[in-house]
C-alpha cells in the first residue's frame, strides 16, 4: 500500500488564537496590532510552532499570551536581549518581539540600540502609545513636550525621542511605521518585516484610549500619510529616510522608511551557525578537539 503523504496543514487565524482573550481596554490600539500580526502569519503561511513571540512587560507586552505561538513573556525592557539569545540558539525559527515605548525606548533603550547594530534577524514591533499605560499614565520616552501626565502634572519638560531616526542611525536594516487603525497597511508592513533578513523595526501608533488624551485615533487619522502613496519615495535612500523621519505635526509619514538587504544578519556572520541551528548541533566536544585543548596546557 502506498504511503499517503498528508498535505501540510494550513495555518489559519484559529490556529493563532491564544488561550485567553486580550485584557486590553476596549478600543485599545493593540487589538489592531494583534490582528495584523495574525493575518500576516496566515498570509505567509508560517506554522505557529515555528514562531517565537517574545515580549517585555507592559500592556502591549501581554501580546504573547494572546497569540498561539511559542511565547515568552520576559522582564521589563529585556525582550530584545532574550530574543537575540533565542535567535542565536535557533535561527530556524521566526522571531517576533513585541512591546511598548516605555519597555523598548526607556528601560530597554540600551538593548534596542545594540540589537539594531547587530542586525539580529527578527521583527521588533513597538506598540507606541506615548504613555505608560499599565502603571496608570506616566510620561514615556515618546510623550510629547508639554504633555500632562501623572508623573509630570505640569507638563512634560523633556523632549521625546524619535524612534525612526534613532533606528536609522543605529543601523537597523528595515525601518517602518504603522498605525493600528490602518490594518491592511500594517499587515503588509509586518509581512515585509518578517520576510526581511535582518533587524526589522516597526513603530506602530497604537493609541491608549484611557491615559493618552492627546495622541488619539482622531488625532492621528488626518495626519498620517503613507510613504507608499508617494511614488517618488525611495526607501533604499538612507538620507531621504532620515529626512522623512523628522517630519512631525500636520503630516506624519507612515509606511516603510528604509530597507537595505546587503548587510549579513548576525547568525549569517557566525561560522559556528553555518551548518545548522545551534540547538540541533551536537553538544559534545570531539575527542581530538578535546585532546588539543588539553595539550595547550601541557
Amino acid at each position: 500500500m502506498a504511503t499517503e503523504i498528508a498535505a501540510p496543514k494550513l495555518t489559519t487565524m484559529a490556529d493563532l488564537k491564544g488561550k485567553v482573550d486580550p485584557d486590553w481596554c476596549p478600543g485599545c490600539g493593540d487589538f489592531g496590532v494583534l490582528a495584523a500580526v495574525q493575518k500576516a502569519l496566515v498570509e505567509l503561511q508560517i506554522p505557529n510552532h515555528e514562531v517565537a513571540t517574545i515580549s517585555g512587560i507592559g500592556c502591549s507586552s501581554n501580546f504573547p499570551g494572546y497569540i498561539n505561538t511559542y511565547g515568552m513573556h520576559t522582564l521589563h525592557g529585556r525582550s530584545l536581549a532574550v530574543a537575540t539569545g533565542f535567535k542565536m540558539a535557533n535561527h530556524g525559527m521566526t522571531v517576533l518581539v513585541t512591546g511598548g515605548d516605555g519597555d523598548g525606548f526607556g528601560i530597554g533603550g540600551n538593548h534596542f540600540m545594540h540589537t539594531m547594530r547587530r542586525n539580529v534577524d527578527l521583527l521588533y514591533i513597538v506598540m507606541d502609545n506615548q504613555i505608560y499605560g499599565l502603571t496608570t499614565g506616566q510620561t514615556s520616552p515618546t510623550s510629547r513636550k508639554g504633555m500632562k501626565t501623572k508623573s509630570m502634572p505640569f507638563g512634560n519638560v523633556e523632549g521625546p525621542i524619535n524612534p525612526i531616526s534613532l533606528a536609522l542611525s543605529a543601523g537597523a536594516t528595515f525601518i517602518a511605521r504603522g498605525f493600528s487603525a490602518e490594518q491592511k497597511h500594517l499587515t503588509e508592513l509586518i509581512k515585509q518585516g518578517i520576510q526581511h533578513k535582518g533587524f526589522s523595526f516597526i513603530d506602530v501608533f497604537s493609541p491608549c484610549v484611557t491615559y493618552n488624551h492627546d495622541n488619539t485615533f482622531q488625532w492621528f487619522r488626518p495626519r498620517v500619510k503613507k510613504l507608499e502613496d508617494n511614488p517618488e519615495y525611495d526607501s533604499t535612500n538612507w538620507m531621504a529616510a532620515m529626512e522623512k523621519s523628522l517630519l512631525w505635526g500636520d503630516e506624519i509619514p507612515i509606511g516603510k522608511f528604509f530597507e537595505r538587504t546587503d548587510v549579513p544578519t548576525l547568525h549569517e556572520s557566525e561560522p559556528v551557525l553555518a551548518t545548522e541551528p545551534l540547538v540541533k548541533q551536537s553538544s559534545r566536544i570531539p575527542a581530538d578537539v578535546a585532546r588539543a585543548f588539553v595539550e595547550e596546557l601541557m
Partner: protein, 592 residues
C-alpha cells in the same frame, strides 16, 4: 612541612612579569612538579607594581605558601618592597646596572647580573628578564635543555633570529650564574608525571565546553574576563556561540533566551555585574529556564578593589533577586574543581529547571595550578532533565508547560516542536502558562504554583552529598572553610600537626543545598570549631548560624584583598586555642 620552592618575580605592569612566570610554570610542570601561580597586581595597564609568586614542589602545591626562596626584582621598587621577605638560604637575582640592593637578612645570597656587559641592552629591552631566567634555572639545578625548548616554543611565532637571540641570552645568564653564584643546596627534583598548567577561568570555560555549553556570553569584568577570552579563542573549534554583550543585564537575558531555545547557556561576571543580573536570575527561576552563572568574586563593595580577592558575595548570591525560588550555589574548591563543577551544576540546573550559580573568586579564577590532565574529562555525565524534543504523537495542544507534579519538575518542550506551543512567563502563571497575575489572580493557583516550584528544593538536596569531615574526628580543632580555601587550610593543618596540634577540616563546596543538619551534626561533635573566610563579617558563619543555629568557637577572617597564607591560619589557630581571642584577622606581609 611540604617540600617546595617559591620564586617571586616583581616589576611594573608592562615590564614582562608574566612571561618568566609562564616559562617557569612550563618547565616545572614538564619536570613532573606540582605548582601554583598567584599574581598580585593592580588595575593598571602600564606601571604600578605586580608581584607574581610561583611555587613548585614534588607533592601537591595548592597555594602560594609562606616563603619566597628566590626573588627576581625587575625594578628598584620590587627590590625595596620585597627583599625583606627572603630569609637565610634565599637568593635575589637582579640587574646590577639599574637596581641597588638593600640590606638583606643574614644568609641571603645577592646575585647581581652585570646586564649591560652580558647583553646588548640597546637591542633587547627585556634582556635582564631572560638573563635572570637562565640564572634562576642554573641555581635550581634545572638543565639548560628544558629552558631552550620552552623558549623556542614561547617565541615560535617570531623569526628564528629572535629565538636564537633569546636562547643565547638565557644561556649567558645560565652560565654566568653557574660560575658566579652559589646554587641552591637541593636541586629541583624530577618525577615521571606530566601536569597540565590550568588557570581557573580557562578551567571554568573548558568545564562549560565539556558540559555541552553551546551559548556563552559576557560583558568584560575582572576577574572573570578570562572565561570570555578562552571561550572566544576556542569558540569555532568547540562550536560554541560566543557573544560579548552591551551589559550584564543583556548578558543574562541573552543566556536565558538561548537556554529557552534548548541549548545549555552560561555566563560569567564579578559581583558588580552579578548585581545587574539579579532580576533576570528570578526570571530563570520563575519561567523555569535553567542557566549557569559564574561569579568570580573580587573585593567589594561597589568597584572595590578589582584586582584583589575576597569571599564577599555569598549573601548577594543567597539573596539575589526578589521572591522565593529554588536555586543552586556551589563554590569550587580549587582550580581543577573549577572544571569539574561546571558539568555537575549544569546537570542539577537542567534537571530542576532553575538557575545555578558558581561562586568562584579571583584567587582561583586568575590563579594557575598543576592538574592531572586526566581530570579534564570532556565526556562527563550529561543529564538534561525532562525535555520534549519531538511531538511523539502528543502534539494535540493539551501540553502544559508548568504541569503540577510531585517532584515540582514539569517536562520542558523545546520551542519548535509541533503541537506544544505555550507561553513561558515571568508573571505568575497557571499550569498551561496563562497568566494569573493580570486579568485575574487566584490564590489557590498561586499557592499551587509556588509549592510546585519550591518542591524542587527536596530533589536538589537529594542530588548533592553532604560534606565530609577531613582528618580525624577527635581532632583538637576543626577548621571550617568554603570554596577556594580548601588547599591553604589543608596545608595549615599539616603545619599544625608538625607542631603537635591535630586539626580536622570541613570544607563546604555546595552552599545551596547546604545540608545544614548534616553539617551541624558533624560540628557539634567537634572539640573546637573555627570558621575561616576571606571576608569581614563572616558571611558563611552567619549563613550557617541562620540555617542551623550553630555558632562556631572562633573565626579567622581576612579582607585586605589578598588570600590566606598557611602561616596566617597556623598562628591564628594557635592564639585561639590559647584562648587569647575568638576573632583573628591576619596581617598580609607582602605589600602589592
Amino acid at each position: 612541612m611540604r617540600q617546595s620552592f617559591a620564586i617571586g618575580i616583581g616589576g611594573a605592569a608592562g615590564q614582562g612579569v608574566a612571561t618568566p612566570g609562564d616559562i617557569f610554570a612550563k618547565i616545572f610542570s614538564r619536570r613532573g612538579l606540582h605548582l601554583n601561580v598567584y599574581n598580585a597586581y593592580q588595575s593598571i595597564i602600564r606601571g604600578g607594581h605586580t608581584f607574581l609568586t610561583i611555587r613548585t614542589g614534588p607533592g601537591k602545591i595548592t597555594n602560594m605558601g609562606d616563603q619566597i626562596d628566590l626573588l627576581i626584582p625587575l625594578n628598584q621598587d620590587t627590590m625595596d618592597r620585597h627583599l625583606g621577605l627572603l630569609t637565610s638560604g634565599g637568593a635575589c637575582i637582579y640587574n646590577a646596572d639599574t637596581i641597588k640592593p638593600g640590606k638583606p637578612a643574614d644568609g641571603v645570597q645577592l646575585c647581581p647580573l652585570p646586564v649591560s656587559k652580558l647583553a646588548d641592552i640597546s637591542r633587547n629591552k627585556i634582556a635582564q628578564n631572560t638573563l635572570a631566567i637562565g640564572a634562576a634555572l642554573s641555581m635550581t639545578g634545572v638543565g639548560f635543555q628544558a629552558l631552550e625548548s620552552v623558549l623556542t616554543e614561547q617565541f615560535r611565532k617570531k623569526e628564528k633570529a629572535v629565538i636564537d637571540e633569546n636562547v643565547g641570552l638565557a644561556r649567558v645568564g645560565y652560565d654566568y650564574a653557574t660560575q658566579n653564584f652559589k646554587a641552591f643546596p637541593n636541586p629541583l627534583p624530577m618525577t615521571d608525571t606530566r601536569y597540565a598548567v590550568l588557570g581557573g577561568n580557562a578551567a571554568m570555560a573548558m568545564g562549560g565546553a565539556a558540559a555541552g555549553v553551546k551559548f556563552y556570553c559576557a560583558y568584560p569584568m575582572s576577574p572573570s574576563t578570562g572565561v570570555l577570552h578562552w571561550m572566544a579563542d576556542h569558540a569555532r573549534k568547540a562550536n560554541i556561540m560566543v557573544r560579548q554583550v552591551e551589559d550584564e543585564i543583556g548578558v543574562i537575558n541573552m543566556a536565558i533566551g538561548a537556554a529557552h531555545a534548548g541549548v545549555r547557556a552560561m555566563c560569567a561576571t564579578s559581583g558588580g555585574g552579578f548585581a545587574l543580573m539579579s532580576e533576570a536570575l528570578g526570571l530563570s527561576a520563575q519561567a523555569e529556564i535553567p542557566i549557569v552563572v559564574i561569579d568570580c568574586q573580587r573585593a567589594g563593595p561597589s568597584t572595590g578593589v578589582p584586582t584583589k580577592t575576597e569571599q564577599g558575595d555569598l549573601w548577594q548570591m543567597l539573596g539575589a533577586s526578589f521572591g522565593d525560588y529554588p536555586r543552586v550555589i556551589a563554590a569550587p574548591l580549587d582550580i581543577g574543581d573549577c572544571f569539574t563543577l561546571i558539568p555537575e551544576i549544569f546537570n542539577i540546573a537542567d534537571r530542576f529547571q532553575c538557575p545555578g550559580i558558581v561562586l568562584c573568586d579571583l584567587l582561583l579564577a586568575e590563579g594557575r595550578l598543576s592538574v592531572d590532565p586526566a581530570i579534564l574529562d570532556f565526556d562527563p555525565k550529561v543529564d538534561r532533565g525532562e525535555m520534549i524534543t519531538s511531538p511523539n504523537g502528543n502534539g494535540n495542544g493539551s501540553y502544559k508547560r508548568y504541569l503540577i507534579t510531585e517532584s515540582g519538575v514539569s517536562p520542558r518542550a523545546v520551542p519548535g516542536v509541533p503541537g506544544h506551543t505555550h507561553v513561558v512567563s515571568s508573571d505568575e502563571h497557571d499550569e498551561d502558562g496563562v497568566l494569573i497575575s493580570d486579568e485575574y489572580t487566584n490564590t489557590v493557583k498561586r499557592r499551587a504554583m509556588m509549592e510546585k516550584r519550591m518542591r524542587k528544593v527536596q530533589g536538589i538536596e537529594a542530588s548533592v552529598e553532604p560534606p565530609k569531615l577531613q582528618g580525624p574526628a577527635e581532632a583538637e580543632v576543626t577548621l571550617v572553610g568554603w570554596g577556594s580555601t580548601q588547599g591553604v587550610i589543608e596545608e595549615a593543618r599539616e603545619l599544625l600537626a608538625d607542631q603537635g596540634i591535630i586539626a580536622s577540616q570541613l570544607q563546604i563546596r555546595w552552599l545551596v543545598p547546604l545540608h545544614g543538619d548534616a553539617i551541624a551534626a558533624i560540628l557539634k561533635k567537634c572539640r573546637h570549631t573555627i570558621i575561616i573566610e576571606n571576608n569581614y563579617s563572616g558571611q558563611f558563619a552567619r549563613y550557617l548560624r541562620s540555617e542551623t543555629s550553630f555558632v562556631a568557637d572562633g573565626h579567622i577572617r581576612k579582607y585586605d584583598g589578598e588570600p590566606f597564607m598557611p602561616h596566617h591560619i597556623v598562628e591564628a589557630v594557635k592564639e585561639q586555642l590559647k584562648g587569647t581571642t575568638t576573632l583573628s584577622v591576619p596581617t598580609h606581609e607582602i605589600m602589592v
